[in-house]
Symmetry: C2
């Protein structure tokens, strides 16, 4: 990491940590130079980056100030899922969402978890892949090492250094997508009947893993800005025999928040106190809107209890199916589980991604998409404000490309989806994200690909249907 | 299938089924034309194919005769594993075998399950892959359908028609290697503590799946020519609560036999009688030395109880990680298990393989490698006869590229491997293939890639070490 990025990171952490609060005046350039022993230009660049990130503003003649967070007033409520372990179901709904629609059936899927695949900064990756496949010989066509290609594991280590973790390539195993990483992590830690605590709402893929393995999900209330409630989690840990905590603390799917760093540390301390493992899903972490990207919980993990799961499906292309896991002290069992699950992962996509990162193309690509996603977040939020009932709850994502809406009047998003069939539109219903039948009045949208007039029209149409349902609710209430 | 291939297949089945026996005179060309209503040239071509396959010989002026099978006299013994369900272990040894050695450590691995990757008929596949990756857009970079690409599922259906199965593309799900197919099949059918009956010796990958899922393996005695003992299996089914039968009945790994068709049918009848599912591993089936290739058990499955698992790791390249499963009546649960295991499989390798098959390149490639493997089987057997003690048991593979040896005097193949360290050679020890510690005196060799003087020298060296150990055994016996 460059000097100015380190400095910006440190300032960022102080802001996150509440050392400097909204409206506070920040140290002068000179003070920074003294405190950190850096040059004036380094200090200036660091502030410029924080300005870009929307965290700091320069006021003429008075210096730099912490920006008051935009603090949207229309955030969804803190979630209140059922406080007991539950079996997960809803596979039919998940299948309906994740199943590819036949190409002739031109449905516009507004809620899937897919990045922008038309981004020109992805093109070099396709070239690298093509070259690798054309020129591969012998070893590259063979079974890879069980842990995956060293070249890619080294690049993962480099990326994770930027997220605060000092890993060794032997700490990393490449998997067939992040889904395999999560599946292996959960199966390594649990036996049928065990309880796993999850943030709530929670990624449906993980919930289905719990279901398939006969596990129970204990959904913990979660704040749309700061993430899983540590107070509720502590109570749950006292009350239930929890085997693992599974969560997505950075650029959460579906809520978009990033847990503040002190809360990540506090969560880890809690896990240590109750001696449970943490399965940390970081698949959207590299898409954080702030630079440097937020640190993982794994960054603070000093006794190997965090199994960090991630991959390139959201930052590059899902169709490559390249994920990874850094399983800490569970490495040997995870490796065995990886062998029995799929053997080694495909060799050449790993090598091509390693090339892509090593050449700096990954960073360039991230810069491009993060800028795009951030802009499109704001645009899509403005559309929702325009086309949806005024009391719709809207998340305020800190990264990634997913927006979460809480519809007013308890409107059922499954019913909404049915109403959208004639318009050939589909949203992701909120109920997929809960084991306890919560979030029926919520839905997920995707703002990754170019927000064309077609998408605006689609969103207007969804808003109209919501409004109609809302009026219906009012009518029934009056009747 | 062409007319002559059908006819050759029918004759082949009569020979296999013992209707025509070694030395028997076969129907004349004219009789064939009458019986099957085919042309003279079709009948001639059918006999020519059976001649090529070594099953039939033409004797001048007297017509066609069934060849007496070479019936090697030095086959390994029928196996006698422990007759009770056992926990599987030996992960360390499996890891040592499957783990990729660092490139600088130039060990010659004589026992791994890897096809010849230098075969020129594979080159078009690399070109197709490169083109697919270079020109892919949108959908092809995205998550594939959960069941896999329709184009590949259609080609799998075509291939399996040649193995006697009439499948529909919806009956097939693409997986990340055959290992995932097996893993999913087993997890779909069982709960921890359940018993699975397996052929013995048995592929270590499957055994490790049993271990990881808390299942017990019941190893059934197996004949090196005709496969799993139906008599022993019947007894076992009466005695134990068996949830599934898992076996590799065609071009078995490691023994090389193909179960005769009547035995496959009888096995299915047994499974029906006891109402258990069959997990049929056919990964080497397309590499059978006879044409048309033997039919699967699945071909006779009329109530959907066979889960057929296969893939392209042995016929094309393991590093692509493309496998598939035809799960019969278990399709829905298998699909869920596939979703939670890895989500959809990688898109583009599937499309490239589908192109490769559709263009006829797969058949061309199979013809080339099958001819090569058959020739090399005979050459490697001749080397073993030359360099190993005379009473070494040698399998007689009907397809694939793996040879199984039974060493005389109870020589321990793990010890042999240790002795081979200075020579930078490694064989696959037999004990990996058993849960009950059997086959310590056996080993597996690979004859896929060109049998160069280097490999001959390596084999001679292995033979010398075996001979030395054998003499040692004799000495100890005398002492
Ligand atoms: C939070 C989260 N984790 C994991 C995954 C699965 O990732 P992959 O497609 O790499 O298996 C997803 C994809 O939707 C996700 O949103
Ligand atoms: C009998 C058998 N089944 C399955 C497999 C695994 O196949 P894949 O590499 O496609 O996962 C192997 C590979 O060694 C095998 O020998």
């Amino acid at each position: 990491m460059t000097r100015y990025a380190q400095l910006a990171g440190e300032l960022r952490r102080r802001i996150d940590g509440g050392i400097y609060r909204g409206g506070d005046r920040l140290p002068s350039i000179r003070a920074l130079c003294r405190e950190f022993a850096v040059s004036i230009s380094t200090a200036q660049t660091a502030y410029a980056r924080l300005e870009d990130a929307g965290l700091v503003e320069a006021r003429p003649k008075s210096g730099f100030f912490v920006r008051s967070q935009p603090a949207p007033t229309d955030l969804p409520a803190v979630t209140r899922p059922a406080q007991r372990p539950l079996d997960v179901s809803r596979w039919d709904q998940v299948l309906e969402l994740v199943e590819r629609h036949p190409p002739d059936d031109e449905v516009l899927l507004l809620g899937r978890g897919i990045p922008d695949l038309a981004c020109p900064t992805l093109k070099p990756l396709q070239r690298l892949l093509a070259e690798r496949y054309r020129h591969a010989s012998g070893q590259d066509l063979n079974y890879d090492a069980l842990a995956g290609s060293l070249a890619l594991r080294q690049q993962v280590v480099r990326l994770m250094a930027g997220a605060g973790s000092l890993l060794h390539p032997d700490d990393v195993l490449i998997t067939s997508g992040c889904q395999e990483a999560l599946s292996i992590a959960i199966r390594t830690l649990t036996e049928p009947g065990d309880v796993v605590a999850v943030d709530s709402p929670s990624f449906y893929g993980t919930m289905q893993i719990l279901q398939a393995n006969g596990l129970k999900a204990l959904e913990i209330p979660t704040d749309p800005c700061t993430g899983i409630s540590l107070e509720a989690l502590e109570l749950a840990l006292e009350q239930w025999p929890i085997r693992a905590i599974q969560l997505t603390p950075t650029c959460n799917n579906p809520l978009g928040y990033t847990m503040p760093e002190e809360r990540k540390r506090a969560l880890l301390a809690l896990a240590q106190r109750f001696d449970v493992a943490i399965i940390e899903d970081d698949i959207y972490g590299d898409l954080a809107f702030d630079t440097p990207r937020p640190r993982t919980i794994k960054a603070f993990d000093d006794d190997g209890r965090v199994l960090l799961c991630s991959g390139f499906s959201k930052t590059l292309m899902p169709g490559l199916r390249v994920g990874w896991i850094a399983p800490g002290r569970y490495r040997d069992r995870v490796q065995h589980m990886k062998y029995v699950s799929t053997g080694a992962s495909a060799t050449l996509p790993q090598l091509a991604i390693a090339d892509f990162i090593a050449k700096g193309c990954y960073e360039r690509h991230l810069r491009a998409v993060v800028t795009q996603y951030r802009r499109q977040r704001d645009l899509m939020i403005s559309w929702v404000r325009r086309y949806f009932p005024a009391d719709t709850g809207i998340s305020y994502p800190q990264g990634g490309f997913l927006l979460w809406l809480e519809l007013p009047g308890g409107i059922d998003s499954m019913r909404l989806n049915e109403r959208l069939v004639p318009a050939r539109l589909r949203i992701a219903p909120g109920s997929l994200f809960s084991a306890s039948g919560k979030y029926r009045d919520c839905l997920r949208l995707n703002y990754a690909s170019a927000l064309t007039p077609t998408i605006e029209a689609a969103l207007r149409r969804v808003g109209e249907e919501v409004t109609r349902l809302y009026v219906g609710v009012g009518d029934r209430a009056l009747a």
